[in-house]
Amino acid sequence: MDEVGLIKEAQRGDLDAFNRLVLAYQDRVYNQAYRVLGNHQSADDATQEAFISAYRKISSFRGGSFRAWLLRIVTNACYDELRRQKRRPTTALEPVDENDEEIESPYWIADPGELPEEQAVRSELGNAIQECLNQLSNEFRMVVVLVDVQGLDYQEASDVIGKPLGTIKSRLARARYQMRDCLQSFWELLPHSMRLETNDKY
């Protein structure tokens, strides 16, 4: 059954149909939650809350991009988690390195087709990017993850966050500028092959 059919069945109360949608989108939703929240435990909680909320609100989906609709729900779940973290700071359960940064599990970023060296590069890059994302404000981080990591266009990002296009443009521009400063400190650590794929500045 295609996505439209699964959505219709889910709207009629078919939990199995909704779980098939969960299977199709859980990687994307989890990525959004993790890149915004910065730790796996919080991302796990936010992802589960997002899907439960999505099932309860499935009847309010009126067509359009289901991906954007789901990302809006997980964005709200992330905001709720950030407010909760502000009230009650938590300690990460995953192992951390000497800089107190969580170590991304090789399992979670494993690609069966990758060589070990490639996996190591990807892991290093992921850690560097996450480090820089964590230094952004919540609002800037949300926009840059939606547009540059998830691949949404400006209008979709505007619909997800619920802010005007001008706000999206402004926050994205400033988030990228701050990221460029942060990434420069990691750039020399990245393999040459990675640097060659980007512009001559790096």
Partner: protein, 259 residues
């Protein structure tokens, strides 16, 4: 917003192809003229390239939703589609049978024409006999009338030859035989007759709709009895399907609203 922020925003939007018209032409002209602006543009482009290479993480587990997570019990979740289907199916059968009523039932209601005609004739004759009996109350036959009465054949017996000839000649072989009355037993005067009869319509109706008279349906030919039973069966089936459709539909609606 500072000039720097405004240019930064334009560069970022131009990078993503979100600038059009005069704004796009302006920023392209500035990029050709301003080297510092070109440097900012390249830095933004580099940052976007790295961000697009962010590793896509896989979900560490499956985030399936269970009925308990959303406040449902497994039985309710399974019951909803079953009830919904039962309601729809029962309603479909009900519509089919209802449509069948329009075409099938009239054939069972309409009995053979000859049976109806005979039944109506017999009923009319009985009503006439009752009216006659009311108007001309039967009296024990007088002595003079006895010979005539004796000549009357018993039911089922062939009439005497003399009477058979009379019956044939008068064409009365198919008509009921009324009791012969002596001329001295003529009806009462008109006034008395009216008193006994009352208004003609009332008496007529009283005679016609005597409680002892049989309903037309009672004189139907025996062949039509299975048709009546079939109609009753269909009616009962319709009622049962209606109850099923309504109850299953209400149950499914309640389950849906409880979600």
């Amino acid at each position: 917003m500072s000039e720097f922020d405004r240019k930064l925003e334009s560069l970022s939007a131009y990078l993503d192809g979100e600038l059009a018209g005069d704004d796009r032409a302006q920023i392209e002209r500035l990029l050709q003229e301003d080297l510092e602006l070109q440097g900012w543009f390249e830095e933004l482009k580099g940052a976007r390239t790295v961000l697009r290479k962010t590793p896509k993480l896989r979900a560490p587990r499956n985030f399936y939703i269970t009925p308990e997570m959303v406040g449902q019990n497994a039985g309710t979740v399974r019951a909803f589609p079953i009830l919904r289907f039962a309601s729809a199916f029962a309603a479909f059968l009900l519509v089919l049978i209802f449509l069948g009523d329009l075409f099938v039932i009239p054939r069972f209601v309409t009995a053979p024409a000859s049976s109806i005609q005979i039944a109506e004739f017999v009923l009319e004759e009985e009503e006439s006999a009752a009216l006659e009996a009311e108007v001309f109350p039967s009296q024990p036959p007088s002595a003079a009338a006895e010979p005539l009465m004796q000549e009357m054949p018993a039911e089922g017996e062939p009439a005497p030859e003399s009477m058979q000839d009379e019956n044939i000649s008068s064409g009365m072989e198919n008509t009921p035989q009324f009791e012969k009355v002596h001329p001295t037993q003529l009806p009462a005067p008109l006034e008395e007759l009216e008193e006994r009869l009352g208004t003609a319509s009332d008496t007529g109706e009283a005679l016609l709709f005597d409680s002892e008279s049989r309903e037309p349906e009672e004189v139907f030919a025996p062949e039509s009895q299975p048709g009546v039973n079939f109609i009753t069966l269909i009616r009962l089936t319709e009622v049962a399907l209606l109850i099923i459709a309504v109850s299953a539909g209400c149950a499914a609606l309640i389950l849906h609203l409880r979600k």
